[in-house]
Amino acid sequence: MKRLWSWAAIIAGSLYFLLPLIGTVEFSLRMRRGEYSLDAYRSVLADPNFRDTFGYSIVMALLTIVLGVLIVVPTAYWVRLRLPRLRPVIEFITLLPLVIPAIVVVFGYIRLYNTSSVLPLTGTAGGTNLLLLCGYATLALPYMYRAVDTGLSTLDVRSLTEAAQSLGAGWVRIIGRLILPNVLGAVMSGAFLSFAIVIGEFTMAALLNRPAFGPYMQLLGANRAYEPAALAVIAFAATWGCMGLMQLISRLLGVRKTAK
């Protein structure tokens, strides 16, 4: 009886999850009347806007990861080493992006960094890119911080630091050559999660008016029938790829999987 219910739950759930995926793939193949074809994919891939926006978002995602690592790794390390009492405070701050909706944060950016403010970042394309980058790093902060902090918890930070110092290493070298390689698995899992978040992000990019992949998808969705389904398949494959790589790497490096 119990087993019957369990199977019912699993099968009903699987149907719910599989049907949209099958539906999307099927729909994306329907562009040519009467037969299945890859026309929608061809049309998407041939669109220069697709390449531009996808490229833009990939670069932004990579930069987000770099910025995230630069902010999170030294901070998490330093707090563990020297300022353990600050840990709850930092943890609280890193969780805030889950509480404050992204649309509110970006609304604040627009108000705070407009052209008539002290720091007129939205005045130039470069400045807005920088602002968007910082927004993305903020969105990724909860995931990055938790991943890195979990990674650090498996190390004896104090002994490692003292050993490095007694061999004459400076702070930059300790963090770059000793701590970072040791939490690389954790950093990678945070990085892939950040990548998956940034690559299709819509709200911030749309409101800051940057040519990112998310707003492009939305625009295409409003104007075309079959291409959006093809994009959804591509986006799902990208997310799946990120998560797959993340699990593969954490398994290879033998890092305890971090809870989301």
């Binding site: 739950a9 049907l19 604040g108 627009i110 969705g221 959804a232 989301k260």
Partner: protein, 282 residues
């Protein structure tokens, strides 16, 4: 003890970043909600939230978030319980967890596309139901661009999030507790009602709060799905920032402030419940 000295310098970059790109922008909105265009203190903006259109948008947003959180919790719990203790073969667990990790991050614009391709007017499921069973769900009043349509779509990331969070909690239920209950003559129903659920209750309620906030702040899926035809709060705010509706910009700050209050309360509940839940997880 007075060694503190220069240690704080190490966290300056982090705090500067958090201040500039998280706290100050949010504070700015909150303060803006209490200011009139001349910069003086006022409660007028918050009073402006009482207009029927905005009240309606908050009501429907909260309803969608509640529905998708309740259903997400129930279905996610059922699936997690089936895998952890339901006698389903063990190999199902790993793919389910991996899939949940992917699906919980598969939100936004592509998710809307997936559901349009499936349950839209010419979507796969819509067509199959019509051809195979003669059921026309659109003639029966179903619409993807509606309360239930949006809820159904949000469940695609809500259920996996529930599975990811609740599976460890279910695995944390000790076998001894069940055996002790059975030795004392408890039925399965009694065990769940009097032992397992009270222990799980804080993590269930906490996850519920997280799911609620998760769907309350979601913009992209709803926007790609409905354009601005369904007036939920994030969509209204989005249109307001874009300059499409509502002439008074300070009303926008008040709406944003309202959103922070709602998600803040939901997450406060989560934090409190989580601290209580962790007592049992030792």
């Amino acid at each position: 003890m007075r060694q503190i000295g220069w240690n704080w310098l190490g966290v300056v970059p982090f705090f500067a970043f958090a201040l500039l790109f998280l706290m100050l922008p949010t504070m700015n909105i909150v303060i803006g909600a209490f200011q009139n265009p001349e910069g003086q203190f006022t409660l007028q903006n918050l009073a402006g939230l009482a207009s029927p259109r905005i009240v309606d948008s908050f009501v429907i947003s909260i309803k969608i978030s509640l529905a998708s959180a309740v259903l997400g919790c129930l279905i996610g719990f059922a699936m997690a319980a089936a895998v952890v203790m339901g006698g389903v073969p063990g190999w199902i667990k790993a793919p389910l967890m991996t899939f949940s990790g992917v699906a919980s991050n598969f939100a936004g614009v592509p998710l809307a596309f997936a559901f349009i391709a499936t349950l839209g007017r010419v979507g796969l499921v819509t067509m199959l139901l019509k051809q195979w069973f003669g059921i026309n769900i659109y003639a029966m009043g179903f619409n993807l661009l509606s309360f239930w349509g949006l809820t159904l779509t949000y469940l695609f990331f809500q259920i996996p999030l529930m599975i990811l969070i609740i599976t460890p909690a279910l695995e944390g239920l000790k076998r001894e507790w069940r055996e002790a209950a059975e030795v004392l003559g408890a039925s399965t129903g009694q065990y769940w009602r009097m032992v397992a659920l009270p222990i799980l209750f804080p993590s269930l309620l906490g996850t519920f709060a997280l799911l609620f906030a998760n769907s309350f702040g979601a913009v992209a899926t709803a926007y790609a799905l409905t354009g601005s035809s369904l007036s939920i709060v994030p969509i209204m705010l989005f249109a307001q920032i874009r300059g499409d509706v509502l002439q008074d910009p300070h009303l926008g700050y008040a709406m944003a402030f309202g959103m922070i209050v709602v998600t803040g309360l939901a997450n406060l509940a989560y934090v409190i419940m989580r601290t209580r839940a962790e007592r049992w997880m030792r």
